[in-house]
Each structure stands twice: as structure tokens, then as C-alpha cells.
Amino acid sequence: MAYDIPEKPTLFDQEASATLRLAAFLLLGIVLMVADHRGGYLDRVRSWFSVLAHPMYVVASSPARLSRWLSEGFSERQRLVDDNRAMSQSLLLAEARLNRLQAVQQQNLRLRELLGAKRSLGLQVRFAELVDIDLDPFRHRIVIGLGSRDGVFAGQAVIDARGVMGQVLTVGPFSSHAILITDPSHALPVQVGRTGLRTIAFGTGRPDALALPNIPVSADLRTGDRLYTSGLGGIFPAGLPVAQVVDIASDDTGNFVVARAVPEARLERSGEVLLLWDEPAPLPQPPPTDDMGLPEEGE
């Protein structure tokens, strides 16, 4: 009655151990993801690794750069001349407009001096090239070719000639990742230019839409209204164009309206962006109160 118990692992054993190993790796992956999402403990790792990632970015973006270089090299002379003419015309227009604005700015400065306002309107910007790689078409992230070596810091505002694009998320020595305002996890304090109404513009995950939920019905919001940064978040200076309202509908309860706005900035991959070095005037911090609870007995 003595059976030999086979020592060799059966197929079933192998499968069971593979499943166990998978479960262990899934657990590890989930722990890492939660640590990254909640704690942000891994920013240091990311920053170091981006030194190694940079050559990969350079190689991966080379086809796009090559094609741009070729199209520049072989484009027709006539087209270049036309482009040049159109650009100098638009520059002329812009300069004329600037000249007029300068007078207004002088006036504004004098008025501000009279009021004793200290905040300057100056903006310090720096050109930065987008690294032409594709992180994921369904995530609204871009890579900028400037890093901590150039003084870029997390939370820095990224704009283009038309409006706000997003803000820097993680910084490496040579390149940095930025999140666009259309990312679903991004929210931006804005102000309606016409009425001064303050609200928050949320990203929707679609490249052409921002959502403005929870606006009171009584607020006078119309399609075509322009939205500007309100400067309340402390990251973007006030007065940068953000989006234009295109669609207004009442929400499910009927007590609020929900608006959809199209971003002004061109949120495509390629091209150049501006990084802002303007320090937005910090809001005066209220002194911390020790105890927010109920007053204690006997006080």
C-alpha cells in the first residue's frame, strides 16, 4: 500500500506558483502606484532617472526633428517669402498695438502709484522647446527641453502666445514634464473678463474643452465670454487668457449652470512654449489659529 508521492512538481503546482507570483507582483505594483499617487515619494527617483531618460528622448524625437529640418530645407522659396511677408505684417500690427498699450500701461502705472499698489505687471519669460515625443495620446502631459539646470521648478507656469498651457510637474536636470490644463486632474482658478465672476476651470480629458461646473444661475455668463487667470491659486499670475466659453447648459438639479470653454492656447505637441519666471505676489498668510474646535470649558 505504499504509493510513491511524486517529487516532481505537477503542472497544477507550476500554475499555482505562477499565479502566486503574479499576485505578489500585482500587490507590489499597487503599493508602488499608491505610494506614487498619494505620497509623491518617488519624485526624487524620477528626477534622477530623467538623466538617463534624456538620451532616449533625444533619439525618439529625432525623426520629427529630421522631418522638420527636411521640410524647411526643401520648401519652396516662394512659400518662404510668403511666410516671411505674412510674419512681418503681423509683427507690424503687433508692434502698433504694443505702442498703444504702452501708453495705457504708463497710465496704469501712474494710477497704481497713486493707489500705492506694489505689484508690478512685469513678466519674466523664457523660450523653451517642447521635446517632440509622444508620452500617451490620452494623457495630457508634455516634455519640455529645459530642466533644473536652467532654473525650472515644479509648479512653474507654461504659456504660449495665446494663453495658458499648463504647469511644470516634475523637473529633471535636462528636461521636465508638464501637465496641460485639459488634464482631468488639473484645475485652474479663473475669472470671467466681462463680469469679474471668479470660478474654477477643470480639465476634461478632451484636448478642446475645459469644464466650468457649479456656476450660479444668477451669474451673468454668456457664450463668447473670455476667461482669464484670477491669480488666486498662487501659481499663475492674474490676467493671462485661458479659454473662451462656447456652451452653457443647466446641470441636473437646475440650480446651477455648467459651461464648456475652449482653451485659447494651442495645446498640440510641437512648437515652442514660454516658461514664466514671474513670482506671483503671495497672498498674505493669515496667522495660524491654534485651536479651531469648540471653546474649552472654563474659558
Binding site: 505562477a18 500585482l26 505594483g29 508602488l32 527617483v45 525623426p63 520629427a64 502631459r141
Partner: protein, 162 residues
Amino acid sequence: MSTNRHSQWLFWSSLLVALLLALVPLPASLQPFKPYMPALVMLYWVLEAPDGIGLGVAFGFGLIADLLFGTLFGEQAVRLAILVFLGMRFRARIRFFPLWQQALAVLALLLNDRVVVLGIRVFAGEGWPQPSFWLSPLAGMLLWPWLFLLMDGLGQWGRARR
């Protein structure tokens, strides 16, 4: 010995090329169709040379990809581990399918991968993606036979050259 070294070399360089191809931008209209190259290359190696590749390799490679793409640390690691696990489980069957049937199996695996991504992103609060999110597995299926033949050819070339 030399074959072994060649296939090792082919293995690591194919993974590197897969990462680079995943980073290269496509024209905006073609972007949703971009196949998830690291997954395809991993699947090829699971089917052809399962000894060299395990869940650990897939997981580690996924972590590197996560750092490179700026995704949540662990997202692609989990995706690739699940993919390699399923590939190993069904390897005996998929391996002897004709190429077009293999491509269908790859489509199923990639769709499953998309579901995993969706789960992770919704949990992380990134919201529901657009419908074109589901197009990438189709492109992966169409690419599979060509990738398979190319990798096979490269492997044989290395062996013949010895």
C-alpha cells in the same frame, strides 16, 4: 553559445527599440492607432523563448517604461506582468496557431490590457478616456504578423551567421 549570446542581444535591443518606437510621435490623426510596442515585443519573447522572460523581467521593464513615460510608477509594470502571465498560461495553444489566429489572440490580450489601463486610470482619478482609446489594440493586431516575421527573421539570421 554564440546563438545564445545573439538571442540575448536581440532580446535586449528589441526591448530598447520598442521603448523608442513607443516614444516617437505620430501625426495627430494617427495617434490613437499607435500600438503598444513594449507589449507586442514582450509577447513575442513569451511565445518564442519563455525561459529568458518571466514576470520579474516584465515587471522591471514596466517600471523603466513608467519612469520614461511619466506614468504612475507601477502602471506599466502591472500591465506587462498581467500580459506576460496570460501569454505564458496560453502559450502552448497560441504558439501553434496560424499567424492570423495568433493575431486574434494578441488582439484579445491587448484589449484586456486596455481594460487594465482603464481600471488604473479611473482609480487614479484621471477620468474616462475618449472612444478612440480602444483603437490601439486593433493596430497591434494588424502589426503582429509583420513583427513576428521580422523578429523570426532576425533570430534566424543570427543563427545562420554563426
